[in-house]
Symmetry: D2
Subunit: 368 residues, 4 copies
């Protein structure tokens, strides 16, 4: 040790105390992963603000594997505006270790959410066999009240607290392996206005039939992660994204979110697939993609830019024969391509192959 | 065409409703993030297997933010061979919610580690003011025994259980803001053989002076993450890596790990910096980098490939004047560059700028 | 062969002729690199459209290594609006193989540029020893006229064709190894209005002193690539970009570009460094970065989002002591961070460390 | 200017002359794209060295868009060992500008290839209507001799020069839109030993039927890029790769390459598809993938690592029912997965779905 102390004194003479000590005692190396919030570019539509939501998230307080705090950090970094922690009422495998009640995960997060400008919807997951299966109760005030023997009593409690429900993963094979049916109980809950939405996408699954139900019953579509582990290990959060429910809200607030759900103004988005009511999907497409005016022409062709201002990828199928445009092409997020059209082309009708507006319907657009 | 239509009809008979229903009920979309274990390429050295370790990891059972299970998943995916959960004895901010004892995080993991071929070292972090600061007790059998009022009694318990200790982040400014000193207690513990290593890298910090101590006292150097949140949100685990302790072990087992630590056969690695004893660093460099024979020559020059077989980046400074090679260059992981040398060059001595072999020493190599 | 034909016939029976032949004869695999135009997000400033230009590009018609066509493809894909091919008059190492005159590279490109909506400025590089060094003549009509023995005659030809010139890489060590001086010839050309700009960035070099000259003489700053090889092999065109001259133009046209240069309304941009006149840099910063209103407050702090709407990274140094904000931080392209300020903080003055407004000046902004 | 020079002198006093002048005159910014050679990890097989080749490349000397030099740079950076420039004899659209003869592109490259340790095979492309279509003549000595009116005379010249030929893209729809046939001329050339291989992959196309021909006739399979533009703009050279012909050679030399082709010891590789003779594909798979011994077992299962030491991705389909392993999974380059097998499983037979060993055959492997 003496030799060492001598060395330090010597080095002080050469470089000056502050610098030398900094360099020898403690050097800050680079963390290559700065946590900043990704601004996902999805345009607003006429009269509404576009919000991104995930309404199905677990923590260690049910069968999730992370502390609630991590969930706000994830949502914030991934560009999400509104989230709901939906720990199971009936399934709590860590209960031996974590004994708190059903409101605890929310209580631990509420302040963290505020500091990060995240709208936190108080929620829980009622978790039963089919029917009725799993339902998320949103906008509740006390999750303890949903801890009932009879599921009808849990529903009653949601109603009393002025909450609403969404039906989770109706096409999940574990609960409907051979069928995908709406049961009487669901019809009743829809009729009463207690169920106001369904997941058409959950985790990595998507249910075209459920989209059709939402359109037929005028319910909000949802795309939720149902995340149990770490989001960045399940989804490629850098180059892709978790399932997200796009909400078209009058304002960025709890009230705005609830009104958008109640009015079925949502679109489900995951893995470059959009699913929702035709008018909304069309408005979002048109706010995202522009076929610009002719910038050049020669004897045979006119040239126009097709520009994508959003972070959504669109897949085009050209339905007009012999207009000179390619048969099928993808337009990547934030990119532009040049479309060459025959001078005498008088139509450019396309199917947007990744925009689902019904069980077997896709968005049809006339680009000219 | 008629024949074809017939064929399609036939196929409907074969596959029929199931296929159709599958598509409408439940479509599997793509998760872009398959969890597979990254094989980090770091060559073995003569007589020893190179293992990658992280000996400083927290969970919700102290002040971490994830359930223990996540820690095995992270380590496995990131290519780590040996890990230690080191939840604090004295600092448990989630205690209100999680009441289990100090062995619980280990107990929850031990089977998960076995199934993933990860060597799990039983451990805990003794967490005191400086001196003695924070020390990780490794290879213990019962962490409850370290829960003592007097730190000396905790050390005694480690000794009784035949454990060993490493001194964490000696250059941490929160505990030594203006100095970086070894105290009498540390010298005593080293002398007794109870402290067998020190962290020269922790989180994003690196302490050149501590490297010098390890070399002078013949202790194992460690680079540990001290991770509290999610590894992939702190480090770029795809293109970079967490701090890792490279161990040169006689076998891939608990026994092999312990023997390597006891023999100070380790190198610290983070953010393209290596720190350790000169002989080990040199052996690792030479196992990783090869200057191949002349493959071409002309009137003035000979041409040779300099090839990096490892996932470590090396930064070269050419110390031989006028040998024709560039003054400074980096050799990326798994890459090759062509070195052009003067025909009459008779030396190619380099400093490897990112290979630290002492407080202010870097690896010197003669490449010819 | 007979056996094979038999196999095909058999397979026809199973799968139908068209499908079978497609699959067996020719399968389209995936090219992972679709060429689409990147829309670089740099906002317009009040009254002007922001264009991206590169005014220094070579082809095989001088000492470049690609056919002119590639240059339009590169510029288009990289989001460039205006480009100039500046093949050397005096240095044509491929002349033995390519005998065409000095207008050929432009002629081969003019139609390709039109089809891709790229503004192609006709240009050439006058390539002499220092002084005067290398100058790009822009907006010329016939490059042959610059092929003169005496450089004064070349300048005269530029003037006659109503062109203008920019002085290339004044800080290039090959021509000014120990100095960086303006010579009399440059002062004369500036006075005459023939030189209207200088490169403050070229390839990977940046010349702070030349920025000072541009500001003192009111000349346009340029950042050009001087590319000879393939752009994507020199620059990381996916995650970063080539040097670009940002022009603030009244319209997206040749006329608009020329007026912006003549009015010195340009900023140089490369490797996250911006260099230009203070008023322009400030306007661009303010169009890119927004400190949003308080969204949350508690006893001690207010919370505000700092949002970057551009593809430029900004490095902040907090110059106000004790206002609660961090000392230094980077704001990545398209990202948001939360700024926590003391409730009683009444200033938030920052230096934008990567925004150069003079030889040793950086942009100063008051964020509150 | 005087004011400026004063400023410099002032700054000298503060910081010292060298540093100040460097910083003000010329700062080196970072090029984010260092050109280093990627070492593609494909293991050797018993008795042979695995080389990577591309035998179909164009330059400005026919209808390519880059100078020959770029081609060596690309191949070197992409990890290719052996390349052939195959400029068309009959199609030279730039002839108006570039008048040199058919040997010029080779002559310009031969030294550049030597300096980069690339094996450059002298070659040309005989470019005719079908039949015979396009054929690359390799290992020739004078491409001028292939410039003949009658294609038979060109073939004769190849023979005289002791060259050999490969038949390019036999499934190309431009030449065989509705069929994919071997013509009499091809059969004759194969019989004579002049045609020793065929492209089973070209650009982004793959021809399963042609693979079958190669196997039936015992010819070498080729995967070539047929690159005309810039490789990095067509292929994702960072995360993926161009089509490559894997050669299993006795030595890394012209001689070794020729012997491997003559012995049909090649495999075609592109977009995660391998195509070749069963014995070679199997040897390559077995050199790449290892199912390691049991590292853990419990009551029901044994656990084993399946490890991929190569940069090739493999897609597994489990053909053994009820052995506990998943039905289908991908093993990424350089990754490991854990396979859990039933304790009583006595077989683990898999189809490697991306390894083609015939028109409709895939590699079958027994992993236990």
């Amino acid at each position: 040790m003496k030799k060492l102390q001598l060395l330090i004194v010597t080095s002080l003479l050469c470089f000056g105390s502050v610098v030398a000590q900094q360099n020898v005692n403690n050097v800050q190396l680079e963390l290559k992963q700065p946590i900043q919030r990704k601004n996902i570019r999805i345009p607003d539509i006429e009269g509404f603000k576009t919000l991104k939501g995930d309404f199905h998230i677990h923590t260690v307080f049910s069968d999730g594997l992370v502390w609630p705090t991590i969930r706000v950090q994830e949502c914030w970094a991934e560009g999400i505006d509104v989230m709901a922690i939906t720990d199971h009422i009936e399934y709590r495998p860590h209960k031996k270790h974590i004994k708190d009640g059903h409101n605890q995960s929310y209580n631990l997060l509420v302040n963290e959410a505020k500091k990060n400008n995240i709208i936190l919807v108080k929620a829980t997951e009622i978790t039963r066999d089919m029917p009725p299966g799993h339902l998320n109760a949103l906008f509740i005030t006390d999750a303890e009240a949903m801890d009932k023997l009879k599921v009808e009593d849990a529903f009653e409690a949601v109603k009393k607290q002025d909450g609403l429900m969404l039906w989770n993963h109706p096409g999940w094979k574990a609960q409907q392996p051979d069928t995908c049916l709406i049961h009487e109980v669901h019809k009743k809950l829809i009729k009463e206005g207690l169920v106001q939405g369904m997941e058409v996408m959950n985790y990595n699954e998507w249910y075209p039939l459920v989209l059709q139900w939402c359109i037929d019953y005028n319910l909000a579509v949802f795309a939720n992660s149902d995340i149990h582990g770490v989001s960045g290990y399940v989804y490629d959060v850098k180059n892709a994204h978790r399932p997200m429910t796009l909400l078209f809200a009058k304002e960025r607030s709890q009230k705005g979110v609830r009104e958008a759900i109640g009015s079925a103004r949502t679109i489900a988005w995951f893995d470059q697939q959009l699913a929702g009511p035709e008018d909304l999907v069309k408005q979002l497409f048109e706010a995202s993609v522009t076929l610009k005016p002719v910038f050049h022409s020669d004897e045979k062709f006119v040239y126009r830019e097709l520009c994508n201002n959003s972070d959504i990828q669109f897949s085009f199928v050209n339905e007009t024969k012999d207009n000179g445009a390619p048969h099928a092409f993808k337009l990547e997020p934030g990119k532009t391509i040049v479309i060459r059209l025959n001078k005498d082309a008088n139509a450019f009708n396309v199917t947007i192959d990744n925009c689902h507006t019904g069980m077997s319907d896709k968005l049809q657009v006339s680009l000219m």
